[in-house]
Every structure is written in structure tokens, then in C-alpha cells.
């Protein structure tokens, strides 16, 4: 993998287009892990929100983060692309390795981290001053891509991947905010996919959507994992059970239990996990 620091944005994007899939380095264990989090702690000022979390996130799989409100799910997921740094006075200890490179080493540019680790938010947030089409390709534009043919191809591909193409292909010039809530969320997914990140983070992507729109996004997540490594936060146990391969249960900033979703849901080894999943607290 290219070095985080040396890669010019445009190059890295173009490179990743030509390369169909990340070759799995021989020295890595199976299953390959795109992200390895080791001894991660995060503070907001004096308040410790994440407490010594160690976790490997498998490539081309969906990892669900569950836990009661305020347990640090968002903080954790945002630390995987350094988004939490937008909040002043945050502090991080530990390492997060993306393909073996530490996101937090001092010479890493957070902007480049975020190009490689994309994010979708709880509330859809298309840019209201941009059309649907421009919303999708803005990330590439920021990467310095000017080739119109390339942009058009990527526009269509991203929208198809986000299962939105058929609904908007005749309205690409309309404002992104003219879509329905569910469509807007898929637009945001398409926007994140357009720059071909290696990892896609989703913080409760369906919590503002109705059941039908939710089903669409879930289906989408299921399909996307063939190409991407996905980490998603959810409050919905059924959803975690349906879409994820691995589940991590957080409680009060600590990682209580982590394992294959089937195991966590059928035979959790921790009492707290069982209580939470069965709805006894949380």
C-alpha cells in the first residue's frame, strides 16, 4: 500500500481504480484485517470516552458496533478516520493501523486518512448548494480529478452502487436536497463511495429512515461488503443481526465483547452482552 504521507491524493484515487481488489499480504493472518485498533483511549478534555480498546476489523466484512447510548460508539467510529478531532480538546492514545500504517503517527495528514476511510452520518447531509451529480463527484473534485469522462463514469458507478441511479438518473442537475430522506442518505453513501475509500464508516445510517428506506440501505450494505470494509453503528439489534459479520459490544467506553455476530447473538460469553441484547438494559 502507498504510504499515507507520500501519496498525492489524485494518484491514490486513480491507483485504486485500476486495482480491482487489495491483495492480501502474505504475512497477515486470515481473515485479513484492514483496521487494527490497539490500546485505543480517547478523551474529551478530562473525560475518557473510550477506554483501552483493542479490536481488529476484518476486511470485506461488516462489523457492527452496539451498546447503550453514550457508551462511546460514535467516538470510537469517528476515531477511525480522525473525525473526532473536529471537536476541540480531544486526545488520543494507542494506535489505529490502516493496512499497517498508523493513522495517528505525527506525519500523517488527517485529510488523507479521511480520503481512505469514508464516512456516512446519522442524518443525511448532502450539500444543499450542489446538484445531485455534483454532490457525488465533489470528493473527486477535491482530489483534483478534472477528467470529465472519468467523473461521469464514476458518477454513474457510485450511484449504481448506492442503488440510486435508476431513481435519479434524469434529475442529476436537481439539488441534492430535493430528494427524499432515504434517497438523500443513499446519495451520501454514493458521495462517500465515489472516492473509493478502503473502509466505509456508518454512524447509525438508518436511524432517521422509515422501514422501507432502512431495508434498502441494509441491502446496500450487504452488497457493498464485497468491495469495502464496513463499520457501522446501530441501535437496532435485529439490524445488527441481519447485516453484520462481526459485532462489538461497548459499555461505558470499554469493549466488553467482540466476535462473530452469530456467536454474540446466540451465545455471548459476557453477562452484560446478553443483558443488552435481550433488552434487559440499555
Amino acid at each position: 500500500m502507498d504510504n499515507l504521507v507520500m501519496t498525492t491524493p489524485e494518484r491514490s484515487v486513480m491507483d485504486r481504480v485500476d486495482r480491482p481488489a487489495e491483495p492480501i499480504p502474505a504475512d497477515e493472518a486470515v481473515p485479513a484485517c484492514t483496521l487494527r485498533i490497539k490500546d485505543l483511549s480517547i478523551w474529551y478534555g478530562d473525560k475518557r470516552a473510550i477506554d483501552n480498546v483493542t479490536l481488529d476489523i476484518a476486511s470485506n466484512a461488516v462489523t457492527a458496533i452496539i451498546g447503550p447510548s453514550g457508551c462511546g460508539k460514535s467516538t470510537f467510529i469517528r476515531s477511525l478516520n480522525r473525525m473526532h478531532e473536529l471537536v476541540p480538546k480531544t486526545r488520543v492514545e494507542g494506535t489505529v493501523l490502516l493496512q499497517g500504517e498508523d493513522l495517528y503517527s505525527s506525519n500523517v495528514d488527517p485529510a488523507i486518512v479521511r480520503r481512505r476511510v469514508g464516512m456516512v452520518f446519522q442524518k443525511s447531509n448532502p450539500f444543499p448548494t450542489m446538484s445531485i451529480g455534483e454532490n457525488v463527484i465533489i470528493g473527486l473534485r477535491l482530489n483534483g480529478v478534472r477528467n470529465q469522462k472519468f467523473l461521469n463514469e464514476r458518477l454513474e458507478r457510485s450511484l449504481r452502487m448506492a442503488a440510486l441511479w435508476d431513481e435519479v438518473k434524469d434529475d442529476l442537475h436537481k439539488p441534492g436536497t430535493s430528494l427524499s430522506g432515504g434517497q438523500q442518505q443513499r446519495l451520501c453513501i454514493a458521495r462517500a463511495l465515489a472516492v473509493e475509500p478502503e473502509v466505509l464508516l456508518m454512524d447509525e445510517p438508518c436511524s432517521a429512515l422509515d422501514p422501507i428506506a432502512t431495508a434498502k440501505i441494509e441491502e446496500l450494505i450487504y452488497e457493498l461488503k464485497t468491495t469495502y470494509t464496513i463499520v457501522t453503528v446501530t441501535h437496532n439489534m435485529q439490524q445488527a443481526g441481519r447485516i453484520s459479520d462481526y459485532t462489538a459490544f461497548f459499555y461505558l467506553g470499554r469493549l466488553i465483547e467482540f466476535g462473530p455476530t452469530t456467536k454474540i447473538f446466540t451465545n455471548p460469553s459476557e453477562r452484560q452482552t446478553e443483558d443488552y441484547i435481550t433488552g434487559r438494559f440499555g
Partner: protein
């Protein structure tokens, strides 16, 4: 409703019931009425002021008609009054002020909300607010004794050297000039545009910024695509607010613009504004017609200010959200 009336309720009790329901509705109505009255009061006030100015200048309006707006002779002795140089001076000095102040203010506001380190923000904001608190006449004094000598020494000759081929920077450099007037107005409207813009930028939802950062935007890129373009309409409003101030700015401009009623292409030449001539000449207006002409100057100034605001609002309405898309390219 029908169920209530279907049941037999003695008259007194029923009226008690309606009385119970009424206070909240009365409150709503009263509030609505109050706000409506306030809004109307502002309109009425403007109309009243306009009407009084019109009244005070009716003789002049009758005598000069449209020539008042289109001729350039201002000769109180001969009782010849043409306001064109003042209109020109007001518009041009305000335009210069906007050209200087708008980019500076918006850049400052963006710096303050998006880029500046936290510890520097509050001191900078206080500083800018202090600038707004400087009395106009003090700023004028500073203009005369500090700004003009400095302008005459360095920036003006430089402008002349590099842009002397345009008609705007030719001829002798006196110091007091249209350009100096524009610059001092810029200083005066900078704080208001900055602080209004800052409030507007602060009101941009964080979710928008996060959307940009999550795509790998740098701070500047996020500011451009997520913050500035989102806030465009509001920023335009801030500029119009500044323009309103600029058009009516009096004291400081009067002290540095040179107060010569002429229309000269060169910005090094002195000029005169509507507000300045009013302030300068009202005390010495001896004849009726002179006073009338000055009242008409006031009327024109009010008219221009209102017109500019209406035009701006029209423009604002035609700016479609999608037209901002060019911000991306």
C-alpha cells in the same frame, strides 16, 4: 365541539368554559397584533420621513424637476442646483468601500469561525467590535492626519505607476480624494459586515462541515464547499447591510473626500457625497431655495438607500440555490 354542545350545559357554565379557552387565543392574537403594529410602525416611519423631505423640497422639485438629478451645477448664489456630482460621489465611494470591505470582512469572518486557533478568536472579535465603537469623527481625524499622508506617500504613487494606464488612477495626487473617502467608509463598514457574516457562518450546521471533512477536504476546502456556499444568501444580506451604512456614512467621509462637487474619472480627484453636502451646508443655507435643494438632497439619499435595498432583495430572490454549484468548479 359538537359533543360538547350536544350535552346540556347551563349557560353560565358554558360561558365559563369558553372563558377558559380564550386567554391563550387572546394571547396569540395580541402578540400577532403587536408584532404587526411594530412592523407597520417602521414602514410608517420611513414613509413619514420621506413625506417630510418631499414636503420640505416641493418648491425645488417643482422648479428643477428632473434636472436636479441630471445636472452638475451647484451654485447657491445663482440658485442653480444640480445633484449629480453628489449622487455620483455617494455611489462611487460606497462602491469602493464595498470592493475593499467585503472580501476583507468575509475572509475575516471565515477565519474567525473556521480557521483561527481557539484562543485567538475572542480577542480578535473584541478588537473588531472596538473598531465599530470608534466615533466617526475620530476616524475622520485619523484619516486626515494619518491615513491621507500615508496614502499620498506610498499606495497612491504605486497605484499610479501600475494602473496609471486606466482612467481611474491618473492626474495629480492631492490626498483628499474619492479613493480616500471610499477607504475610510470601508474601515467604517468592516466591523458590521464582519460580525454579521460571522454570525451567519456560525449558524451553518456542523453536519455540513463534517460532510466535507469526511471526504478528505482540507480546512480551506471545507470552508469553501460546505460553509461559504451554504451561507451565501446570508452573506449577501450582510453585504447589503454594509452598503446601507456606506451610503449614509457622513462625518468621516466629509473629512477626507475633499468636498468638491465634480464628476471625475480619476479616483485621486476629490469628490462629494449627498450626506456630506447635507452636513456641510445646512447651517449656511440662507435662501429658501437653498434649504429646499438640501431637503431634496436628503430625499434623494433616502430614495437611493431604499432603492438599493429593494434591488438587493430582488436579486436575492433570483439567486437560486443551484446556481451556487459553480463554487465547486
Amino acid at each position: 365541539m359538537t359533543t360538547i354542545s350536544a350535552v346540556h350545559i347551563p349557560l353560565e357554565e358554558r360561558s365559563a368554559q369558553t372563558r377558559m379557552a380564550s386567554p391563550s387565543r387572546f394571547g396569540d392574537k395580541a402578540f400577532e397584533l403587536l408584532t404587526l403594529t411594530m412592523a407597520l410602525a417602521v414602514v410608517v416611519l420611513i414613509i413619514l420621513i420621506g413625506w417630510q423631505l418631499w414636503n420640505g423640497s416641493s418648491l425645488a422639485i417643482k422648479k428643477f424637476g428632473f434636472r436636479f438629478l441630471t445636472t452638475s451645477t451647484w451654485d447657491p448664489v445663482a440658485e442653480q442646483f444640480g445633484a449629480l456630482p453628489f449622487i455620483y460621489g455617494t455611489l462611487v465611494s460606497s462602491l469602493i468601500a464595498l470592493l475593499i470591505a467585503v472580501p476583507l470582512s468575509i475572509a475575516t469572518a471565515a477565519y474567525l469561525t473556521e480557521l483561527a486557533p481557539l484562543w485567538i478568536r475572542q480577542p480578535l472579535v473584541s478588537l473588531i467590535e472596538m473598531l465599530a465603537a470608534i466615533p466617526s469623527v475620530i476616524l475622520g481625524l485619523w484619516g486626515i492626519f494619518v491615513m491621507i499622508p500615508w496614502l499620498r506617500e506610498y499606495p497612491f504613487p504605486l497605484l499610479k505607476r501600475f494602473f496609471g494606464w486606466t482612467p481611474f488612477f491618473t492626474g495629480p495626487i492631492y490626498g483628499p480624494s474619492m479613493l480616500a473617502g471610499g477607504i475610510i467608509i470601508a474601515v467604517m463598514i468592516l466591523p458590521i459586515i464582519t460580525s454579521v457574516s460571522r454570525e451567519i457562518l456560525r449558524s451553518v450546521p456542523n453536519l455540513q462541515r463534517e460532510a466535507a471533512y469526511a471526504l478528505g477536504a482540507t480546512r480551506w476546502e471545507a470552508t469553501r464547499i460546505a460553509v461559504l456556499s451554504y451561507a451565501k444568501k446570508g452573506l449577501f444580506g450582510a453585504v447589503i447591510l454594509g452598503l446601507g451604512r456606506a451610503l449614509g456614512e457622513t462625518m468621516a467621509v466629509t473629512m477626507v473626500i475633499g468636498n468638491t462637487p465634480q464628476i471625475a474619472a480619476s479616483l485621486f480627484q476629490p469628490g462629494y457625497t449627498l450626506a456630506s453636502v447635507l452636513a456641510n451646508e445646512f447651517t449656511e443655507a440662507t435662501t429658501d431655495m437653498y434649504v429646499q435643494a438640501l431637503f431634496e438632497i436628503g430625499f434623494v439619499l433616502l430614495g437611493i438607500t431604499i432603492l438599493v435595498n429593494l434591488l438587493a432583495q430582488l436579486l436575492l430572490r433570483t439567486i437560486r440555490t443551484t446556481s451556487a454549484t459553480r463554487a465547486v468548479q
